[in-house]
Symmetry: C2
Subunit: 503 residues, 2 copies
């Protein structure tokens, strides 16, 4: 098939590919999909698809700020309906609403889709391009990119999957699998109500028959390489709050700092408590009774060895602005640490006066925003219980542990059909994918991979982006590197994957 | 004299006092001032004086925010001119401008005045009354108060001194001393350029002949008691900044928090460094080689014993929202600690994500805003040097120590004429003042008390206020407690003090 040789499916190469495809199509059996016709639709619909993504980005839903969640769910429902889902419902939870949708294609197989319609917070002052305008700009070394909040995390890839459904339909082809879509609006606060959505009887029943659940993603790195991840670490997000009120010492409101000589300080108390949570270098968790992480397995080590060799350490360092890995580890060992070690990270510190210059106050309250990443074998609830018990044992029982969200780690076997179809698709598209034991970032795959559903779960999609959770988040639309797929290539990668899954 | 029996000089009692005063005045020698006539002017000018203060509060100068410093200096200069200072100059410094003014009354003695025209930052959202409107509101238990930024710290008392000069002039009396005024606009950032102002040849020359320098203050507590303070602790304000850039480890920008497993954290580094600065309870400075504080002297202890007995511990605790002093000390011992112990206080913590909820970033930078209070015998520069050396020795040499301001402690002898005149005035006004070794709060008196000027320096003024540096800062205008002076009483206290100094 012509597309097997195409390492780049951009709109410019599609025209010539089309010529070949038309010839190929004529020779194809009736049962074979007319991929050339679908690809033609992808090209024709490019501007409409980009506009659809831009319109979506213009409506940010941010659970942490109680911003546009209802509107975001309604918009998600509309996008699903327009893409061909016949049954679309908004499901309320104790938090933000979710969306449940099914597309019955009359196919033999059914595939689950996990979407998020929420995005991370942003401060427009930090962006070089307005975060809601989703402008197309030239990014040196990458090509034409869309800059906007949600461009890569996760509206860009999700919209590309929806564009694939539009293209299949408009090419008068049959969607090769039935689809079950679950979308949530709280991913960025740790999915506190994802189980309420997924375990609803009608949702669970629909998912039970799927070959697994995947989330659309832009999985290529800047050089076009793709890893197939077999899971993700778990995460807990929480605030540690030291306050005069709860402590019974120090002031109940901010007082003049000169009083420090006779009044205790909740801010110092927070520092002293934080100090007990990690080793001197900040890198090893020292919480008493914390769940133990198993040693990295030989299988994981082997996967990391392959992956490390395939990735450009210097490029990653430059992207992150990092000169040395923890303990000056070599690249491969740093990656082993990444996939195998639990962490306690300070996301933010907030206490007393936080504006410009100084202000002579003794704060009555100080907060550390913390995230803890968990590896397989660790449970979110155990980690939180250990933290609370540790603080109590050290005499810091008054420090509040306010968990805002999180979930257990998730893992899927390499031989799961959902995963094998990814490998097959990627190889057919001319890529040389490699396995990755688990993402260090987290997503609530546990709700699919754990009991009672016990499904495979993962991410899939070509394309490249960056800046998730940061200013100037972007998705490459028209890449300068031919090994990287642009937006239309990402759309076609979903077409290919769905057909592979339908086999 | 009639006013000797008046324990309250409010506008309501002034009318009757006036009748007595007119009789007394007729009997007075030509050299005696007509205090009754001055008091009458104070009463008549009440509304104008209040308006003058309100207008001043409407123009906040905040050095930390680069807000209105030039305008504030010009306004200060205008206020001085209108109050009768013949020579008024705005003096530039390397920071914000100061004001230097002299009032030559042809008197035998000259008195120095230290003013600040700047105010502390404020967040209107935290106030129950707009901070720049200086509204008059009823405050339960206190009476009618003015709520506004600068109401007590320090525009209220300073405006009352200016009102005293207006009243003396409009009563056709002679100001009893010559005045030398130095006003700065950087007090709230630690007066980084006060020496540039005070040590200018013309300013130093004018100050050299004064009996000392005082700052107008609302010195009464809520029950009307007055202490005469003999000094103030020194202070250093600084930021400790941990950053990936300076450290050479960790990221150069905020990155995704999942990377904590392979990337070092500047936020943890800050916590670990902070942890070394104070004892486990946060109350004892543990900086290596930090200047030693001398043991509290017998004289200071005796002063504290008297003062503690005069002050209502429960009332102070309620005001501060404090249930226990450090180490559960008794009231007297807590006050001994207040006057004698150096401190390291966290004013603020700022790092990474500080908004609502969480955000999964690994911050590239974290900041602790610190103030350190110094007791006599300690020098600001020694304290900073010890801190830097401590951090370097512990391996934290990359953590920036950015000093924004501060000054040495200041001390004046109890037998200084400036102080003795305070005691005499307060006693004559029917009060029972007591000495206080030094304020735990700081002001740049060192620039007057240290070489080369070696002058006496202090604070003076009746009246009561609160909330300095906090929301709802206030000054009592018409007190419900007859032992507390309102605004007019404060004005008259300055009239009395100036005449006492002129003797």
């Amino acid at each position: 098939m012509p597309h097997a040789r195409a390492v780049r499916l951009s709109r410019w190469t599609l025209a010539s590919a089309l010529t070949l495809a038309m010839a190929a199509s004529a020779a194809a059996s009736a049962a074979e999909p007319d991929l050339a016709a679908i690809r033609d639709q992808v090209t024709r619909q490019h501007d409409v698809s980009i506009k659809r993504l831009q319109d979506w980005i213009a409506l940010p839903s941010i659970a942490a700020e109680n911003l546009n969640s209802r509107q975001g769910a309604e918009y998600m429902a509309r996008l699903a309906r327009e893409a061909g889902f016949q049954k679309v419902e908004i499901l309320d939870t104790d938090g933000k609403p979710g969306v449940f949708a099914t597309l019955d294609a009359g196919a033999a197989k059914t595939v689950g889709l996990y979407f998020m319609y929420d995005v991370k917070q942003y401060d427009p002052a930090e962006w070089t391009s307005p975060p809601l305008e989703a402008r197309l700009v030239d990014k040196p070394g990458l090509g034409k990119v869309m800059v906007g909040r949600g461009a890569v995390n996760q509206k860009g890839p999700e919209s590309a999957l929806l564009a694939a459904l539009h293209a299949i339909r408009d090419a008068h082809e049959k969607v090769p699998v039935n689809l079950v879509l679950v979308a949530e609006g709280e991913e960025e606060i740790g999915s506190p109500h994802i189980a309420q959505l997924v375990h609803r009887p009608e949702v669970a029943a629909a998912l039970r028959d799927t070959v697994g659940v995947f989330m659309p993603a832009a999985s290529q790195d800047a050089e076009g390489a793709v890893q197939v991840s077999l899971g993700a670490k778990g995460v807990v997000e929480l605030e540690l709050v030291a306050s005069g009120e709860k402590w019974g010492r120090g002031p109940a409101k901010d007082v003049h700092s000169s009083l420090k000589a006779m009044v205790d300080s909740p801010a110092w108390r927070l520092v002293k408590a934080l100090n007990t949570l990690v080793s001197e270098d900040g890198n090893t968790v020292t919480i008493d009774g914390y769940p133990k992480a198993p040693a990295i397995s030989a299988g994981d080590k082997a996967m990391v060895a392959v992956a490390a060799a395939r990735r450009n350490e210097e490029r990653v360092k430059a992207q992150l602005g990092v000169k040395h890995w923890i303990d000056d580890l070599a690249w491969q060992q740093a990656n082993e640490r990444l996939v195998s070690q639990p962490t306690v990270n300070i996301e933010g510190l907030v206490g007393g006066y936080t504006g410009p210059g100084g202000k002579t106050v003794l704060p009555h309250r100080a907060v550390a925003k913390i995230d803890m990443r968990l590896v397989p074998g660790m449970k979110k609830d155990d980690a939180v219980a250990a933290l609370k018990s540790h603080l109590a044992k050290r005499g810091y029982g008054d420090i509040e542990v306010n968990v805002s969200g999180g979930y257990d780690p998730t893992q899927t076997a390499a031989d799961a059909p959902l995963v094998q179809a990814q490998m097959a698709t990627l190889k057919r598209l001319g890529l040389d994918p490699f396995f990755w034991p688990r993402n260090a970032g987290s997503y609530p795959g546990f709700v699919f991979t754990d009991k009672p559903l016990s499904l495979a779960s993962g991410h899939f999609g070509l394309g490249h982006g960056g800046g998730a959770h940061a200013p100037d988040e972007f998705l490459v639309i028209e890449p300068s590197n031919p090994k990287v797929q642009g937006y239309d290539g990402a759309v076609m990668s979903f077409v290919e994957y769905l057909y592979e899954l339908g086999k």
